[in-house]
């Protein structure tokens, strides 16, 4: 190898680094710039929001947010969103975690098929299902209720709950449970004394993810609720009439919890993808 070879190799490596850094910067900007504008506009006074050019530094004016809080029906919608999301969280974990445990610990016929089908529930476009669902919900009296909407959101969240908990349970060696059985535990007490304490953070993460799915969902919410709209559905309905600064404030209120929660549970989401890619 000559000196020129070494230097071209190094140059190639360096340009590779630049390309990599540029891609990372571009992707970050793609995500962060809109969020930054959202932040600036939320924390600006209504007048600034409607004027041009925009400042690059937020004014820390709480006018928009105050207006948002005072807007008719907004707080009720916020409350509905929280109620539906919490119900979704509880139901998807109650159903998803046992399914994840069964997938990771037992061998049964159709296991691979089940894992596929669980994901397939997400393959149906929601608009296709929304109308028949709305009709069915009206017949059963589930329409326009928090529990009804939470049921729909639960079906959306369950695939993730199953796959995340499946990967979590698979990460706990079966020997730990077996050791507990030989030390005087039944299957149930081994689960509560050994598996549960180890898996609790992951279950919490999976629950938070279900919360975020419900929190962000707009289509089913818009179709299935009228009086008891969630925040997303409410904002969608009011998009036409609401002033710009209200939309920004609403968007901000929607984005922040989702962002914070997803950031908190990112480790577990990677785990899920790691398993799902196999």
């Amino acid at each position: 190898m000559t000196a020129t070879d070494v230097s071209t190799g190094a140059a190639q490596r360096r340009s590779g680094h630049y390309l990599y850094a540029a891609s990372v910067a571009l992707l970050c900007a793609w995500v962060l710039v809109p969020l930054y504008f959202l932040l600036i506009n939320t924390l600006s006074s209504p007048d600034t929001v409607n004027s041009f050019p925009k400042p690059f530094i937020p004014e820390f004016d709480w006018g928009s947010l105050e207006f948002f809080a005072g807007y008719d029906g907004m707080l009720k919608a916020l409350k509905n969103s929280v109620v539906v999301a919490v119900l979704t969280m509880i139901m998807s974990i109650a159903v998803g975690a046992p399914a994840g445990y069964a997938l990771s610990r037992f061998e049964f016929r159709g296991k691979g098929l089940f894992r596929m089908l669980v994901l397939l529930t997400r393959a149906f476009p929601l608009p296709l299902l929304a109308l028949p669902l709305a009709v069915m919900f009206i017949r059963t009296g589930l329409d326009d209720t928090a529990i009804g909407l939470a049921l729909v959101h639960t079906t959306l969240a369950i695939p993730f709950a199953v796959l995340i908990t499946f990967s979590l349970f698979s990460g706990i060696p079966i020997e730990l449970e077996e050791a507990a059985w030989t030390l005087g535990c039944t299957r149930f007490t081994a689960f509560t004394k050994v598996v549960l304490p180890l898996i609790l953070p992951g279950i919490a993460a999976s629950a938070i993810f279900a919360f975020v799915i419900s929190w962000n969902e707009v289509f089913a919410a818009a179709v299935l609720t009228i009086e008891n709209r969630t925040l997303t559905a409410f904002l969608l309905a009011k998009l036409g009439e609401a002033p710009l600064h209200l939309k920004f404030a609403g968007g901000f209120i929607l984005v922040v919890p989702a962002l914070v929660f997803i950031f908190a549970v990112r480790k577990y989401l990677f785990a899920m993808w790691g398993i799902a890619n196999r």
Partner: protein, 346 residues
């Protein structure tokens, strides 16, 4: 009193049969080692005794009680796992006391027994730590202490030393043997390491392809292997084999030499351990191929009549590759095997 009886136990996984009709009795307080290569069914057999696996057919009795339908917790056993299975969310103290807590043993009694077993395993100073703060060897000690704290009738061990480095393994081997001998429990110990088996066992059950080929004391297994598999598996280097042709009246021709052997007319295999060969004026003509000085002795790999043959000789000897050695087998150590049944012939 905890005698273990395994009666006609078989286990199939679908069309694959992992265990064929195993019958084995382990005496009270006996140290039984199940020895075999990986995949021979030794771990499956242990797990059936533990109740972690159900036998397809057959019965397991512990201490005169049939237990094969009972869950692990009702069998009076404790188990040490290959990867230790120390609970990561509990301290060493709570790990060792876990089984006692499950049995609702009073607090001060738990404390007394945890401290006693921790003392036996020399881990008193680690009681406040978590599994993540321990080395492999320390985790191993916790796992053993946790099993001993239960004061079980039977202790089951699945390759407990295989994840330790060589030096630590040797140390733990001796320690474990001492501790178990004092605890008066019946032990079943699964390993693929013949040195572990030889050094610790009261009795060794050599397993091969889901069957117990021989169950006997270590020295018996070594000196009088019941089958060709045992002879080739036990001993490092293993036994040498040569074809033998009958010459009538208990005389056998082995590589041009005539030796005394059993009174049968079938073709047999002659077998001898490498250390039972000596240089002599008359014997098997061996051409040395590879010479490996091992310090205490010289391991010479040679060719006798076209077959691979090993001899362990005195390390003072000077041998070069290509030299022809005359090796005389020690007559009382010669063994004979029937090549059709692979069993030993007296």
């Amino acid at each position: 009193m905890a005698e273990i009886q395994i009666k006609g136990v078989a286990k199939s996984f679908g069309s694959y049969t992992a265990l064929h009709d195993i019958n084995l009795t382990i005496q009270d307080q006996e140290f039984m080692v199940l020895l075999g290569a990986s995949g021979c069914g030794k771990t499956t057999l242990l797990r059936i005794v533990a109740g972690l696996e159900t036998a397809t057919t057959g019965e397991v009795w512990i201490g005169g009680k049939r237990v094969d339908h009972l869950p692990p917790k009702d069998r009076g056993i404790a188990m040490v796992f290959q990867n230790y299975a120390v609970f990561p969310h509990l301290t060493v103290f709570e790990n060792i006391g876990f089984g006692l807590r499950m049995k609702k043993v009073p607090n001060d009694e738990v404390k007394r027994r945890v401290e006693r077993t921790a003392g036996l395993m020399h881990i008193e100073q680690l009681l406040g730590r978590y599994s993540g703060e321990l080395s492999g060897g320390q985790r191993q000690r916790v796992a053993v202490a946790r099993a001993l704290a239960m004061e079980p009738d039977v202790i089951l061990m699945d390759e407990p030393l295989s994840n330790l480095d060589a030096l630590l393994r040797m140390e733990m081997r001796a320690e474990l043997k001492g501790v178990l001998a004092e605890s008066n429990t019946t032990a079943i110990y699964v390993t693929h390491d013949q040195v572990e088996a030889m050094s610790m066992a009261d009795r060794i059950s050599v397993m091969h392809q889901g069957r117990i080929v021989q169950a006997a004391s270590p020295i018996e297994v070594y000196r009088n292997p019941a089958a060709e598999f045992v002879a080739g598996f036990i001993g490092n280097p293993p036994m040498n084999f040569l074809p033998a042709t009958p010459q009538g009246a208990g005389k056998w021709a082995v590589a041009g030499q005539v030796l005394d052997g059993p009174q049968t007319q079938k073709a047999l295999k002659f077998a001898i351990r490498p250390e039972d060969l000596h240089l002599a004026g008359q014997g098997l003509q061996a051409v040395a191929k590879v010479i490996e000085p091992l310090g205490a002795h010289l391991l010479v790999t040679c060719e006798v009549d076209g077959a691979l043959f090993r001899a362990v000789l005195d390390s003072d000897l000077s041998v070069k590759p290509g030299d022809t050695l005359t090796l005389a087998p020690q007559s009382d150590r010669i063994r004979w095997f029937d090549p059709e049944t692979t069993r030993a012939v007296a």
